[in-house]
């Protein structure tokens, strides 16, 4: 491990504690999120990508087998769309950009310092969010495969760049809205009232 990374990690931790002690929540959030994302890229991403690539390929393969639109070679992270009426065969390879690993890391880093949730809640929401992003990605790839299977290799650009991404972005925005915006409104305290503590002696 590069010593520079360790030094940067210590500096990041130190500033994080400074912002925490100074009750500078907003700056703690910004500093923490960006830093966590960077360090997750360095430490976790290589391992996580390998696992995610195979899982995404496997799940898409199961759906492809049921519907008959594609075959998965999960050992090689390749999804093969059999030749139809056109003279081209298409294989989709799932690399780190297709695995959804960046989106998951970004989501987790934004959530980790989001103080609307308790620590336990953040862990649960983080796990559920990552599972959602995983399935959003699976849906995106299945849509791409289905369009290519139906309309041939010429439809790849429309399927991948427009329709697939549109579906993925819409679902992701909905997730972010629900996790980061809606919950904050729900948890906002309206007014300054509080319930009085119940005391047995007051009735006597």
């Amino acid at each position: 491990m590069n010593w520079l990374i360790i030094v940067c990690f210590i500096i990041w931790l130190y500033f994080l504690t400074v912002f925490h002690r100074g009750n500078l929540n907003y700056f703690q959030y910004l500093w923490g999120s960006v830093g966590l994302f960077v360090f997750m890229c360095i430490f976790i991403q290589p391992t996580l990508t390998i696992i995610l690539k195979q899982y995404v390929t496997s799940v898409v393969g199961i759906i492809g087998k049921v519907t008959g639109i594609c075959e998965a070679y999960y050992e090689y992270s390749i999804i093969f769309i059999p030749k139809q009426s056109v003279l081209s065969s298409i294989s989709l390879y799932i690399d780190y950009e297709c695995s959804g690993v960046i989106e998951m890391m970004a989501f987790v880093s934004l959530l980790a310092f989001f103080q609307v949730y308790e620590v336990g809640q953040r862990i649960i929401v983080g796990v559920i969010g990552c599972v959602c992003i995983f399935f959003f990605n699976v849906i995106r790839i299945v849509i791409i495969c289905a369009i290519i299977f139906q309309f041939g290799s010429g439809s790849y650009y429309v399927a991948h760049t427009i329709i697939g991404r549109l579906v993925f972005y819409t679902l992701s925005i909905l997730l972010y809205y629900y996790v980061f915006t809606k919950q904050q409104i729900v948890k906002q305290k309206v007014g300054g009232f509080s319930y009085a503590e119940h005391n047995e002696n007051t009735n006597k």
Binding site: L30, Y73, I78, F80, I102, A106, H160, R165, Y176
Partner: protein, 253 residues
């Protein structure tokens, strides 16, 4: 509260809002630069740290390691299937692998020239030959395509620059199985030859293989990038816009 105090408070709130907006913009910029830097540099890091998934393919003239790979066909069409040839193209973090098996009834020699590999629309024409000591084409040493046998120690080349891009093996045999070849192209060398930015091929690129001497059509290997950068900006941007609008509404109410 006097009017002057209210005015001062309003101004203070405006200043703090501006600071928050500025910090948010810096935050978005940081995330953007981190994601883009990560996208362009981590490919190399990943290639170094991860185990290659397809490393079980060895260029040794034995083709049993292609049995479980996705197999396509290239053909100009024939009623008896004579010109329907099996082709496969896969990749891992370090190499692109190509396999060709001629139809058992096909009687002409296997074409080892005009192997067109296109990366994001940019075409590179490859051919298979022996290499000399300078790692360029040894024009004095040709593969005898009429003599049965397995020819090892071959390399894929481009015309210019004329350096070896990997390794290849050609097997000449009549009947079933017929002529075959397998080759492995080093991604870093190919990017250099094609003047592509390092990491382009492993960065959700579109690879197309066509062999006009074998059959029509193409074999395509495509990345399906999620477009992480745009996605994160959209998601974070939406949350920020909604929050700012809500804050403005609450202040006006």
């Amino acid at each position: 509260m006097t009017k002057r105090m209210k005015e001062t408070k309003r101004k203070e709130r405006m200043v703090s809002n501006k600071i928050y907006i500025l910090c948010s913009a810096i935050f978005l910029l940081c995330m953007t630069s981190v994601v883009s830097t990560y996208a362009s540099t981590s490919v190399g890091l990943q290639a170094k740290t991860s185990q290659s998934n397809t490393s079980n393919i060895t260029i040794d003239g034995y083709y049993d390691d292609w049995v479980d790979k996705p197999m396509s066909t290239l053909t100009y069409g024939s009623d008896n299937g004579t010109t329907i040839h099996d082709v496969s193209m896969i990749k891992d973090d370090n190499y692109i692998y190509i396999y060709l098996k001629m139809h058992p009834n096909y009687t002409s020699a296997i074409p080892i020239d005009a192997i067109n590999l296109s990366i994001n629309g940019k075409v590179c024409q490859l051919f298979i030959r022996y290499a000399n000591n300078q790692n360029t084409v040894d024009w004095g040493h040709q593969v005898n395509l009429s003599q049965n046998g397995t020819y090892l120690g071959l390399h894929p080349f481009t015309s210019y620059p004329n350096n070896s891009l990997g390794d290849a093996a050609v097997t000449i045999s009549k009947g079933n199985p017929n002529d075959r070849f397998e080759m492995r192209i080093n991604i870093k060398d190919l990017e250099k030859v094609m003047s592509l930015k390092t990491g382009t091929i492993n960065n959700g690129s579109q690879l197309k293989l066509s062999m006009p001497n074998v059959g029509g059509g193409t074999i395509e290997l495509l990345g399906t990038s999620t477009g992480a950068l745009l996605g994160i900006i959209l998601c974070v941007g939406t949350v920020m816009v909604v929050k700012l609008r809500r804050a403005n509404k609450a202040r006006l109410a």
